[in-house]
Structure formats: C-alpha cells, structure tokens
C-alpha cells in the first residue's frame, strides 16, 4: 500500500518530465511527448492508489502529511516544505492528473505538426507539477509556490505561439493580472503570520477563534483578491478571454478544468477563515454573482468559439465562487460543480479543438454550421458536455448547479431571494449561449469558407473527448449518490447550520429545469430556425456591441490603470533625467562655472602672484595681531 512518503512523487514525476525535456533539447523530439504523457499518467495512477488507500482508512486518519525538509526558518517564521493529502486535495489530484493525462494524449495528435511539440509537453508537465504542488502544499506559502508556478506555466503556454505579438501580449497580460491576485495572497500570508504566527493551514485553522474579526476579514478579502486573479473573477477577469491565444489543449486543461478553479480551491481550503469573517464571505458571494452574470452576458455575444467557452468558464466559476461563499452549506457543492465542470468544460474545449482541427484552425462560429454530419463523434461528445453544462437531468451539471441554486435560495432573507434569482437567471443565459454555440457549430446550415473540408479527428483525439463525455454524464449521479461527495468532504468543514428551507428542493429543480427550457427555446428560435449570417452583423444594439467588447473591461482597465501608469512612467523618466540627474549635473556645472570665474585671477604673471602672496601674508599678520590684541 502507498504511504505518505510517496506523496512527493506525485509532483516529482511531472516535474522531472518538464526539467528533463527542457534540458535535453532536440534529441528528445521523437519521444518527448510520450515521456511527458507517461509522467502525467504515473501521477494519476499514484493518485488513484492514494485514493483507494484513503478510502480504506477511517475518517479521522484520512489526511496524511509528508514533511520533506525545512524550507524557510527565521526566528518564529518557520515553513516546512510539506505536502498534505486530505479528502479535498485528493479530489483535485485526481482531477488534475486525470484530465491532465487525457489532455496529454489529445495533444500528441493535436500538436503533431508543431516543431516544438517537445517543449509544449515539457510546459504541460511543468503545469501539472505546479498545480499538484498548489493543491498539496500544507501551508499558504507552499501553495503560493504552486500558485505562481501555474501562473508561469500558463504564461509559457498562452505565449507558446509568441511569434504573433498579440499572443505574446496576451500571455504577459495574464501573468501581470495574476500577479495582482498574487499580491492579495502575499498580503493574506503576511496577515496570517503577523496575527497568528503561522502560515500553515492547520496552524491558521487552530488559531482562528483567537483572532479578531477585522484581521480575519482583511485576510479573507485578500484571499478573495487572490482567488479573483487566478480564477478570472470580477474585477480581475479581463485576462481569460485573451488567454485563448494558447493552443486549445491548454485552454482545456489550464483555462477551463484546473488552474482557473484554483481560486475556488483557495476559498474552500480557507473555509475556517471565511466562516469567521462574514463580511468577507458576503463579498465572495457578491464577486461570484457579478462574474456569473458578467461572463454569461459576454458568452452570448462572442462568435469566437473559444472565447465563448472562456466566457462560459468565467460564468461557471462564478457559480462555484457563489457556492464557496455560502459557507459550510455550499463548500461541497462548489467542489462538486468544480469537478463536474472539469469534465464537461475540458471535453467541450477539446471538442472545439477538434472542430478547429477539421476547419483549418477557423475559430469563428459563424463560419461553422452543419458539422453534425461531418464530425459525428465530436458532435456527440460535445453534445453530452453541452447537456451537462446547461443542467439537463441526469447529466453532471444538473446535480451540481441545482444544489448551488437551492443553497443560494435557502441562504436566508433578502440575500437568499436575490442570490437565488441571479443564479437562476444565470442558468437561463447559460442555456441560451450554450445552445447558440451548439446550433451555430453543429446543427445549423453549413457556412464554410471555400476550400474547407471538415473531417473527424483521429482516435487519439476523440478518445479523451469520449472519456470526458462519459465523466460529464455520470459524475453528477456518482457524486450525489447517497450524498457521497458531501460526506467525503464534510470532516474538513464546520458543521452546517440548520436553516429553514425557503423553497423545497423539488421546487428548485423544477425552476432550474424551466430556466433551461426557456434559454434553449430562445436560442433555438433565434439561431436554429432562422438563417445565420456568416459575417457578424454590424448594425446591432449598443448592448450587443458592449457584450462583444467584453463589457468594456479592457477599456476600463486601460483608462484606469494602463494609461495613467504609462503616463506616470514617462513622467518619472523625464523627472529622473531632468530634475534629479539635472540637479547633479547642475552642481557639476556650478563647479565648472565657478572655476572659470576664479581662473581669471590666474594671470600667469609671477609678479602678480607674488603680490597676492604678500597681501595674503599681510592680511594674515593683521588678523593675528587683531586676535591677539
């Protein structure tokens, strides 16, 4: 049986793959992708072994820790390099390495024509390693290493085709906006150390009840900023759409299934902080609710299939954040939605990749249509994911989203009603924009460009899609069977408070299903039964234009941060040269100038020098005489 001492290999295998493939160079071009896939699969197998071992242990002994070495120790600040595997992290380990391995397999085929495939796989391995470190670290600082590690991997992968300046800019934008979030995480760690003297999850959990609410609220808000940066939540959401510049498997793995959900992980992991800081918790819900609608609105207007899916990811993570913000009642459902989303969204992104593969890398859905017949397997797997995301029973999304909506309604008072309505509205919009994607791509009339011959992708590509589709069908049922996931995770969280049910569960389910029907019908009416223009119409309402431009997020960021920042930079450059260096050079010029003036006295005539010496001597004597008198 596996023991805690093997935890390090979960991270070690893909890390080795990444470093080895990057160092060895072109020699490994022929087999590098196989090694990387094997490393990721190795992590998955090891994760499975740990999972089974964990299920065999009693509830109290499930969490295991491996301490590798003392990382930083200065005075009372002591951080071990230690890994913690508990009920929460094992979910993520399996998701990351499982979906990760599938995407490795997919990429073997998808990237087969790219001359830098080995480098791509090295980056993927690097990402898997960093992401596993993120979820396995036993302290906020260990998490931070993984946190920035995935940011780096994301930067490298978004900019994988950085020959295009726009792609290089997109990767930089993602990294910088993530760094703003990282700053939040830094603050949270500083607050934890200053108030509790520890930065480990366990230490903070134990100390929470001895800390005043203001400090915890501050820490919670900082954690929320961190989560918003990584999970593309309002107001740090602007990078996700541009991040679609990366190869599609990257979008599936990093920007749909795993990395962007790290924010949800962080909030759920820090449940003890948020439970004690209601203000921060409320902010979490607000941020989640805003993003949920924000993403959904953008999703309605996008014609780029990857950007539509990215907007959808943003919106779905909004659901998770809302769930996580609802406290002990919602944590498990947030994780459930996260896992289900990992399956169906990754599957759909891979489907989008498959479509692009068949359509000469075209991403504009208005140029698609009728692919149902040309790409049947892609259609079916994508379709299953579609049914899951809009929440049709009995697919995965139905269970998880349903639970979040119900919990939102039942969170009490006016907040419950508002929140419930927002999540329900989100469900309508989700059904609308996903049906739009589905119809535009697969079921409407073909609007292909000349010379495009869509074809089904090879087995290496559709097999992972099929497996993910199976996941999207069954996951919800498996998780909710006897409340399996809720029970599994419950030891980590505070006890749920008993509350009065505003609406019984069955009513919520009916509401949710009606929401789906409404959304789907509108979309069908608009796109299935009416011809779609192959070129996006330009005479659209202001609202549509706004949504196409991501609700002006870039305009706002540019106006508030970028331009003033650039202005400040330019101003400081001028000031440094003119004022500070100018003052220095001014002193220099003054010395030269005074020298030039004094030089006139140096006539070169010995006699005048002698006369001056004489006068000087007389003055000195007179001075002495005056003083001694």
């Amino acid at each position: 049986m596996v023991t805690s001492s093997s935890l390090v290999y979960l991270i070690g295998l893909p890390l080795f793959g990444a470093v080895f493939l990057l160092l060895i160079g072109r020699k490994a071009d022929k087999w590098g992708h196989l090694l990387a896939t094997a490393m990721s699969a190795g992590s998955f197998v090891l994760g499975l072994l740990h999972f089974f071992a964990m299920t065999n242990r009693s509830t109290e002994d499930r969490a295991i820790t491996q301490t590798l070495f003392t990382w930083i120790e200065v005075g009372t600040f002591k951080v071990d390099a230690a890994l913690l595997l508990d009920q929460l992290s094992i979910c993520f380990v399996l998701l990351i390495s499982g979906v990760g391995t599938l995407i490795h397999i997919y990429s073997i085929s998808y990237m087969s024509h790219d001359e830098n495939r080995r480098r791509f796989f090295a980056y993927l391995n690097l990402f898997i390693a960093a992401m596993l470190l993120l979820v396995l670290g036993n302290s906020y600082l260990n998490l931070y290493v993984g946190w920035e590690g995935v940011g780096l991997a994301s930067y490298l992968l978004i900019g994988f085709w950085n020959k295009k300046p726009a792609y290089a800019t997109a990767s930089k934008k993602a990294f910088v906006m993530n760094r703003i979030g990282d700053m939040g995480l830094s603050f949270a760690i500083m607050i934890a150390f200053a108030t509790m003297g520890t930065v480990s999850f366990e230490g903070v959990k134990e100390s929470v009840d001895r800390v005043g609410t203001p400090a915890l609220t501050a820490m919670g808000i900082m954690l929320l900023i961190a989560a918003a940066g990584k999970s593309a939540q309002f107001p740090l959401q602007a990078w996700l759409g541009d991040a679609m510049a990366g190869p599609t498997p990257v979008s599936a793995l990093i920007h749909a299934a795993t990395m962007v959900t790290a924010g949800v992980y962080l909030i759920v992991r820090s449940n003890f902080v948020f439970d004690a800081a209601p203000t921060a918790q409320l902010l979490v819900v607000i941020v989640g609710a805003i993003t949920l609608i924000f993403g959904a609105i953008i999703g309605m207007a996008k014609d780029d299939i990857k950007k539509a899916l990215a907007a959808s990811t943003m919106s779905q993570i909004g659901y998770m954040i809302v769930g996580a913000g609802l406290g002990p009642a919602g944590y498990a459902f947030a994780i459930m939605h996260l896992l289900a989303h990992g399956f169906f969204k990754a599957g759909m992104f891979l489907g989008a990749g498959s479509v692009m593969h068949g359509m000469n890398d075209e991403v504009n859905m208005r140029k698609y249509g009728g692919l149902r017949k040309a790409m049947p397997i892609t259609f079916i797997t994508f379709g299953l994911g579609y049914l899951a995301i809009i929440g049709v029973p009995p697919f995965a999304g139905f269970y998880s989203k349903d639970e979040i909506i119900a919990t939102a309604f039942n969170s009490g008072g006016a907040q419950g009603i508002i929140l419930g309505s927002i999540t329900l509205l989100g469900a309508v919009i989700t059904a609308f924009y996903m049906t739009r994607v589905m119809v535009l791509t697969f079921t409407s009339k073909a609007r292909w460009d000349a010379g495009v011959h869509p074809h089904e992708s090879p087995a290496l590509m559709w097999l992972p899609m099929a497996i993910l589709a199976i996941g999207s069908v069954t996951a919800g049922y498996l998780f909710t069977q006897g409340e399996a996931l809720v029970h599994w995770l419950s030891p980590l969280f505070a006890k749920k408070e008993e509350y009065e049910e505003l609406l019984p569960h069955s009513v919520v389910s009916i509401l949710a299903i009606s929401a789906v029907i409404i959304g789907v019908s509108i979309a069908l009416a608009k796109y299935q039964f009416r011809p779609v223009a192959a070129i996006a119409p330009t005479d659209v309402s202001f609202a549509t234009r706004l949504a196409r431009n991501d609700l002006g997020q870039d305009v706002v960021n540019e106006a508030i941060f970028m331009r003033p920042g650039q202005g400040l930079t330019q101003g400081l450059v001028v000031m440094d040269e003119k004022v500070i260096d100018g003052a220095v050079r001014g002193i220099g010029a003054m010395a030269v100038g005074s020298g030039a003036t004094l030089r006139r006295t140096q006539s070169g005539y010995v006699r005048s020098y002698a006369a001056l010496i004489l006068v000087g001597a007389l003055v000195l004597l007179a001075g002495i005489w005056v003083v001694t008198q």
Partner: protein
C-alpha cells in the same frame, strides 16, 4: 589559512600577471581565472569551519598598524559578512570567464584589466572582513580606484563621463564618512583612549549626545546610500551600468553596491543605534520610493543595461527596508537578498552582455524573436528575469518574502506599499522579455549565434545557485540567522508577537 592570507591571494595573482609578457593574453586570462578559483576554493574551505551558533565575530585577526591613532589591521567575519564574501569570491571567477574577451579593445590592454579585477577582489574581501573602522575606510575608498579604471578604460559609449560621475558621487559620500570617522575618533579619544575597533566603538553611543549621534550617523548613512544606491542618490548607477562592460557592471552592482547596504548594518546600526531609530521613518520612506521609483523607471527604460540598473535600485529599496524594519525575518531576508541579488543581477548582466556583443546594440527594441534564433540564450535571460521578479521557487523569492513578512509585523503600511513592487516587477521583466525574445525575429538578428560552451559554463552555476537556494535556502539562512538576530537584539528590538489573544 587566515583571512589575511585569503585576501592576499588575489594580489599574488596580480603580481604573477604583472610578470607575464603582455603578448601572452591567453596565459594572463588563465592565471587570473585560476587565481580567483583558488580564492573561491580557499574561502569555501574556510567557511566550512565557521561556527554558525556563535554570534561573535569569527576568524579574528588583529595586528597593530598605526598605534598612535589606535589603528589596527583587524579582520573578522560574522554570518552576514561571510555570506557577502562568499558571494563575491564565487562571482569573481564567473565574471572573468563570462567576460573572457571583454578586456580586448580597452584603453590599457588585457594585463591591466585582470590586475585591476584581482586588486579589486582583495579590497572587496577586505572591506567585508574589516573590523577596524579605519581599515574599512581605506578599502572603501581604495576600491574606487580599480573600478574607476575598469569603467573608464574598458567600457563603451560615454565611459569616461560615467566613470567620473561615479567617482565624484562616491568621493562625496566618502568624504562625509571621513568627517564622521574623524568625529568618532575625537569622541573615542575623549572617552578613554582612541580606537577604531567596531566592537569598542559600538559601546560609545551612550556617551554621545543625540545631536552628535545624528550628525555622525548621517555622514555614514549618506555615504552608504550613495553606494547602495538609494533614491535620490542613484543617478550615477544607470550611467555606470550602461557604460561599463558586463563584467564591470556585475562587479559594480552585484558586489560593490552591497558594501553600502552592508555598511548600514555594520556601522550605522551598531555604532549609532539611537540615531538609527530616529531616522528609521525617513529611511523607510526612501526605501519605498526606491522600490517603486526604480520599478517605474525600469518599465520606462529603453536600454537593457539601464533597465537592469533600475531594477537594482528597486531591489536595493527592499534590502534597505529589510535592514531598518528591524525584525529577525526582515534582517535575515535583507542579507539573503544581497546574496541573491548578486547572482540574479549577474545572470541578467551576463546574458545582456552577450546579447549586446552579438547584436552590437543595447537598445531593447533592436532585439526581437531571439527565442527562435538563440533558444539557450533566451532561456537564460528568461530565468534570470524570473529571478529578478522573485518567482517562488527561485532564490530571490525567499529573500523578498522574508523582507516583506518581517516588515509587515512591524510596519504593515510600508510592507503593503512595498508589495506593489511585485506587480511592477512582473511588468519590468516581462516587457523586455516580450520585446527581445518574443514576436517576429527583427531584421539583423537572424544569424545571431547561440551561447558557446564557455558562456554555458558561466551561466549554468549561476542559474543552479538561483534554483537551488530557491528550494533550499537553509544553508545560507543558518549562517545568516544568528548574526541577524544578534543585530536586532543589539538594537533593543524584539520581534512583534502574534497579535491574537493568548498567543502561543
């Protein structure tokens, strides 16, 4: 092997080089490299016997030099000095190897270049090891001579002007410090015998009025702030860095500038504890300005070497902040930061230097798409840059975070402002990375050669140190911690306890 002997080894090498006919340039370089390697090996060997649990100065040596003024040839190191000496002696052979051809085409030939570097190494070891204030001052000022000639004779562009600017700035600071030293000398003479020994001087502060202390403190502090450099005493640095050869810039920014921050710890804090307390708010504000100001100017920089210089100003802001925040975390972090900054700046300058030699230009926009043409060089630059932006897993993260977390426990607002620097750091590194490495390959860059074996051998250990210390900084922290804790304690501070009720 005593510190004095280690110190004299480079001089011996310099003497050997002087005997070699100047036509044999290869032999000159080999002897120089061999000498610095021997010095590095000897220092590492010596460091093995350093007792990490002892907060006193170790390896002490003291010989009477000018008895009538109480001046001794006094050497000794604590953890902080040892770490800085290690950094210097490890960087020295790398500088020689990395800039193998830098000395050619200089004003005075190859031999002089290496003699100057070796003489400088002696003085650097001396300045970090001196326990006698006068001896320190002699080395502090004498260091200017070799670096002045290295800058003025072997640089590029307006090298003479930059060298003069550097010299005048440094002399100005040095003279202020000399005035303060004379003041200390007089005061020590009035109170039981003249002395320059820093241990004895550090007991003198009880006898000084606060005004005297403040004035003398400022003399020292301004000298060190110019050296470090701290805003607003920084404008010599970008000029010097731009004009110097890559090797010279590494010696200047990586090693010599550390004398400033080291001096703050060793002299400002220990001799004038009360004045240090008085000026702490001012210094913290200056540090914060340095952090943000340096970062903004780095973002706006168009020249790659000026950019690195501005990032250094930002990093020195962090170091000064750590020193004056007065917690064990920030103090240890500051010293570790000095060490790490040496290597990450060295990595940046090495690669920048090679890029400039190949392209014949140091303007960032002249590069572009290097990742496809010269992948190894591009990767080296990228990793060095990541170290500059303090990515977790690389050494500078540990030190930067220690400074921030240590500062936060005492001065939360300052720590929060300083943390904004990490967002700016992402910008000032990724903007040049994008311009120089990504995008289309700009015309004129298609045939650039990738790193050769010598350059790979130079950069590999630097990157290895950066990565290794990122994951396992304990060997250094073990050396630094007792000394740093000792300084905090000596200043009459103790770490703020966790603010929660009934803290453990």
């Amino acid at each position: 092997m005593t510190l004095t002997i280690i110190m004299m080894l480079p001089l011996l090498g310099a003497a050997l080089i002087a005997l070699i006919p100047s036509a044999q340039e290869r032999l000159v370089k080999q002897v120089a490299l061999a000498t610095t390697l021997v010095v590095a090996a000897a220092t590492l060997f010596k460091a093995m016997s350093f007792d990490v649990d002892n907060t006193e100065l170790q390896f002490r040596q003291s010989y009477s030099w000018i008895p009538s003024f109480g001046i001794n040839w006094g050497l000794g190191v604590d953890g902080i000095a040892l770490v800085l000496i290690l950094m210097s002696v490890i960087l020295a052979p790398l500088v020689i190897l990395g800039g193998w051809n830098e000395s050619e085409g200089g004003r005075w030939g190859v031999k002089t270049f290496y003699i100057l570097i070796l003489v400088l190494e002696t003085m650097v070891i001396g300045v970090f090891a001196a326990t006698d204030l006068f001896l320190f001052y002699v080395f502090f000022e004498a260091m200017l001579i070799p670096i002045y000639f290295l800058l003025g004779g072997y640089g590029s562009g307006e090298r003479a002007a930059a060298a003069v600017k550097f010299l005048l700035y440094s002399l100005f600071g040095g003279l202020l410090m000399l005035a303060s030293i004379i003041g200390l000398f007089v005061i020590s003479g009035q109170n039981g015998g003249v002395t320059f020994d820093i241990t004895e001087l550090s007991e003198l502060h009880t006898l000084m009025s606060s005004t005297t202390q403040n004035i003398l403190f400022l003399g020292f502090f301004i000298a060190f702030a110019i050296k470090a450099p701290l805003w607003p005493f920084h404008t010599w640095l970008p000029d010097a860095a731009k004009s110097g050869s890559a090797g010279t810039s590494i010696l200047l920014l990586g090693i010599l500038d550390k004398v400033g921050t080291y001096g703050m710890i060793r002299f400002c804090l220990s001799i004038f504890p009360d004045a240090s307390k008085t000026f702490t708010p001012v210094i913290i504000v200056l540090s914060l300005i340095s952090i943000l100001y340096g970062a903004f100017l780095a973002i706006g920089a168009k020249d790659i070497k000026r950019l690195i210089a501005y990032t250094s100003i930002s990093h020195f802001g962090f170091i000064t902040l750590g020193i004056f925040a007065m917690t064990t975390q920030s103090q240890s972090g500051a010293t570790l930061y000095m060490f790490n900054h040496g290597f990450s700046t060295a990595a940046l300058f090495f690669v920048a230097g090679w890029m400039i030699i190949r392209r014949g230009s140091s303007t960032i926009s002249d590069f572009g798409g290097l990742q496809r043409v010269t992948p190894i060089m591009a990767w080296s630059f990228f990793i060095a840059g990541l170290s500059g932006l303090a990515l977790p897993g690389l050494s500078s993260f540990v030190s930067e975070f220690l400074v921030l977390v240590g500062t936060y426990t005492r001065y939360p607002v300052a720590a929060i402002i300083a943390t904004f620097g990490i967002v700016l750091a992402a910008l000032y590194i990724l903007i040049p990375v994008q311009r120089a490495l990504h995008g289309e390959t700009t015309p004129g860059n298609e045939n650039l050669k990738d790193l050769n074996l010598r350059e790979k051998i130079t950069i590999a250990p630097v990157i290895a140190i950066i990565v290794f210390l990122g994951f396992y900084p304990s060997p250094l922290l073990k050396i630094i911690n007792p000394a740093a804790a000792h300084i905090v304690q000596q200043q009459g501070y103790s770490d703020p306890a966790p603010t929660m009720n009934g803290g453990k």
